[in-house]
C-alpha cells in the first residue's frame, strides 16, 4: 500500500494520518495522508460506502477528523472556530450529489447565495456565470423545475461564484446521462485550467477515463479504509 504525498509546501488541503469514525464506531477512514497542491486535479474513487463523501466532508470541515489532522489553507481544522470554518468555506466551493438547493429560491438566487450570505452585491457576474453553465434561460426557474443535469450545472455555478481556490464535487455526474456528464466534466476541466484546485469524488470510471486526455489528473482510491494511488490501472 502506498500513501499519496504531493510534495508541495503550499498544499491547500493536507491530511496527516487522518482517520474518521462515526459516533465512536469502527473507523471508516484510517491513516490517510495527502497533500493537495494548488491547481491540481484529483479524482477520488472507490466503491459505494467506501467513504468518499466522508473524506470530502473532512476537506470542507463539515466533519472533524477523529484521529490525525486536517489542515485547510494552513489552518488546523481542529482548532478552527465557527467563524473560521465559515470563512474557509468561502474558499472551497462544494458541489453535492443532491445539489442542496433552497427550493423556495429561484436558480439565480440559489447560485448567488454565497454572495448574499457574504453581504456582497450580486452583479453581472451572476449572468455571466449562468451563461457559462448554459442556464441563462432558466435563471428564474425554481430547483424542482430543473432536470438533473441543469441542477448539477447550477450547483457548480454556485460552488464557483465566490471564485474559490478549491472545488470539491461529490458524485457530480451520479444522476445525469453521459452527454451531460461530459458537459459537467468539461466545466470542471475549464475551472482547473483557470487555476482552481479540483477534486471529484466519483465511482464512474468512464468519467475518469474521459478526463485523462483533457487534464493532468491524480487518481486516488479509497480501499480498505485507506487512500491509495490508482492511476496506473485506470
Amino acid at each position: 500500500m502506498r500513501r499519496i504525498r504531493v510534495k508541495d509546501e503550499q498544499a491547500v488541503i493536507e491530511l496527516r494520518d487522518t482517520s474518521y469514525s462515526y459516533r465512536g464506531g469502527e473507523p471508516l477512514l484510517q491513516g490517510m495522508t495527502l497533500q493537495v497542491a494548488p491547481g491540481s486535479f484529483h479524482f477520488l474513487t472507490g466503491p459505494s460506502g467506501a467513504g468518499k463523501s466522508t473524506l470530502l466532508k473532512l476537506m470542507y470541515a463539515e466533519l472533524q477528523a477523529t484521529g490525525g489532522a486536517v489542515t485547510l489553507f494552513g489552518q488546523d481544522s481542529r482548532v478552527m472556530d465557527r467563524n473560521a470554518v465559515a470563512d474557509v468555506r468561502t474558499r472551497i466551493g462544494v458541489v453535492h450529489q443532491d445539489c442542496q438547493f433552497l427550493d423556495h429560491l429561484s436558480i439565480a438566487d440559489n447560485v448567488a447565495l454565497p454572495l448574499m450570505v457574504q453581504g456582497k452585491p450580486v452583479g453581472s457576474d451572476l449572468h455571466d456565470l449562468l451563461a457559462w453553465v448554459g442556464l441563462s434561460d432558466r435563471m428564474h426557474a425554481f430547483p424542482p423545475e430543473l432536470s438533473g443535469g441543469e441542477r448539477q450545472r447550477a450547483a457548480l455555478a454556485r460552488a464557483v461564484i465566490l471564485s474559490p481556490d478549491v472545488i470539491l464535487a461529490d458524485e457530480p455526474t451520479g444522476n445525469i446521462d453521459w452527454d451531460m456528464s461530459q458537459r459537467v466534466l468539461q466545466l470542471l476541466v475549464e475551472l482547473n485550467k483557470m487555476g482552481k484546485t479540483v477534486m471529484v469524488a466519483t465511482h464512474d470510471i468512464a468519467l475518469i477515463r474521459a478526463a485523462k486526455p483533457q487534464v493532468s489528473t491524480r487518481i486516488l482510491r479509497i480501499s480498505n479504509k485507506r487512500l491509495q494511488s490508482a492511476g496506473a490501472e485506470l
Binding site: E62, A86, V94, D109, L113, M116, V117, L162
Partner: protein, 298 residues
C-alpha cells in the same frame, strides 16, 4: 463586539430575510403569545402599582391618625369629650384633634345601616379624630393619661386592624411583581418553542447556508429579527388592549379596594415599557435557541 453582534441581529438584512423562508404558524403563535402575555402583564403591573399605592397610603394614615372612642352615659359624653380634647391639647405630637359631628358619624355608619340611622337612639360612642404631627405621639403615655383622667376614653391607633391590611397589600404588590416575572419567563418559553419549531422546519436551509459560508450571526439574525418584531407587535397590541381594559374598569373613586386597580398620573406611562421588554425577551429567547441549534452543526 457585542454592538456588532446586535447590529447584525437587528439591522434589516434583505439577503438574510430572503433566504430564510416564512415560518408559517410560528409567526401567528408568537404574535398571539406575546399579545396575551402583554395583556396579562398590564394587569399584573396595575395590581402591583395599585397595591403598592394602597399600602403606602394605609401606612401613612396608620402613622398619622389615631381615634379616641368615648363611651359614657349620655349626660357625661359632652364633658368627657371636652376633657379628652383638653388632654390632647396638652399632649406633644398632636397636630390637631376634633370630635366628629353626629352627621359625620352617621355617614360612617351609612354603609351598614343606611342613610337614616337614628344615631340618638343608639348607644354609640363619641369619636375624636386625632392627627399626629411629624414627630408622632407617645401612644402608651396618652393611654395611661386618658385612663387616669377620662376613664370612658379609649385610644385606638388602628394598628390592630390596619397593619394586617398593609401587610396584605404589600404581599399583593409582591405577587404582582412575581406574576410579571412569571409572565416574562412564560413568554420566553413560548417564543423559544416557536423559534425551535421554526428552526427545525428550516434545518435544511440552515445547513445549506452554513455550507456556503454563512456565519452564525447571519443565519441567527434572520430568525431573531422576525421573532423580535413579532414579539414587539404582539406585545404592543396586548398592552394597548390591557390599557383599554384598565380604563374601562369601574371608577375607583367610588369603590373600594378592587375598583382602585389602575394607574395614576405618570404611572400610565409604565405599561409603555411592556412592548420593548417583550421584544427584548423575544430577542434573547430566539437568539439563544438559534445559536443552540447552530452549535449542533459544524
Amino acid at each position: 463586539m457585542i454592538a456588532d453582534t446586535l447590529r447584525l441581529m437587528i439591522a434589516p438584512n434583505k439577503a438574510s430575510d430572503t433566504v430564510v423562508p416564512p415560518t408559517g404558524f410560528t409567526a401567528r403563535l408568537t404574535v398571539f403569545a406575546a399579545g396575551a402575555m402583554a395583556f396579562l402583564a398590564v394587569f399584573a403591573l396595575a395590581l402591583s402599582v395599585s397595591t403598592g399605592r394602597l399600602a403606602d397610603r394605609w401606612e401613612a394614615e396608620l402613622n398619622s391618625s389615631v381615634t379616641i372612642r368615648i363611651s359614657a352615659p349620655a349626660d357625661q359624653v359632652e364633658a368627657q369629650t371636652l376633657a379628652v380634647l383638653k388632654v390632647l391639647d396638652q399632649t406633644a405630637g398632636v397636630a390637631s384633634a376634633r370630635a366628629l359631628e353626629p352627621d359625620e358619624q352617621r355617614a360612617l355608619l351609612a354603609p351598614w345601616f343606611g342613610p337614616d340611622v337614628p344615631l340618638e337612639e343608639l348607644p354609640l360612642p363619641r369619636l375624636v379624630d386625632v392627627v399626629q404631627g411629624p414627630q408622632g405621639l407617645d401612644a402608651a403615655g396618652l393611654r395611661l393619661r386618658l385612663a387616669a383622667e377620662v376613664p370612658g376614653a379609649v385610644l385606638d391607633d388602628h394598628s390592630r386592624w390596619r397593619a394586617p391590611l398593609v401587610d396584605a397589600a404589600r404581599a399583593l404588590r409582591m405577587l404582582g411583581w412575581i406574576a410579571l416575572g412569571l409572565i416574562g419567563i412564560t413568554t420566553a418559553a413560548m417564543i423559544t418553542l416557536a423559534a425551535n419549531a421554526a428552526l427545525a422546519a428550516n434545518a435544511q436551509v440552515i445547513r445549506v447556508l452554513r455550507l456556503v459560508g454563512a456565519r452564525d450571526t447571519f443565519i441567527a439574525g434572520a430568525f431573531v429579527r422576525r421573532f423580535t418584531l413579532r414579539g414587539l407587535i404582539g406585545a404592543a397590541a396586548g398592552t394597548t388592549a390591557g390599557i383599554v381594559a384598565i380604563i374601562l374598569l369601574p371608577n375607583g373613586a367610588e369603590g373600594g379596594f378592587l375598583t382602585g386597580l389602575g394607574f395614576e398620573g405618570l404611572g400610565w406611562l409604565s405599561p409603555v415599557l411592556i412592548p420593548p421588554l417583550g421584544a427584548i425577551v423575544a430577542f434573547a429567547a430566539t437568539r439563544a435557541a438559534a445559536l443552540r441549534t447552530l452549535s449542533g452543526l459544524r
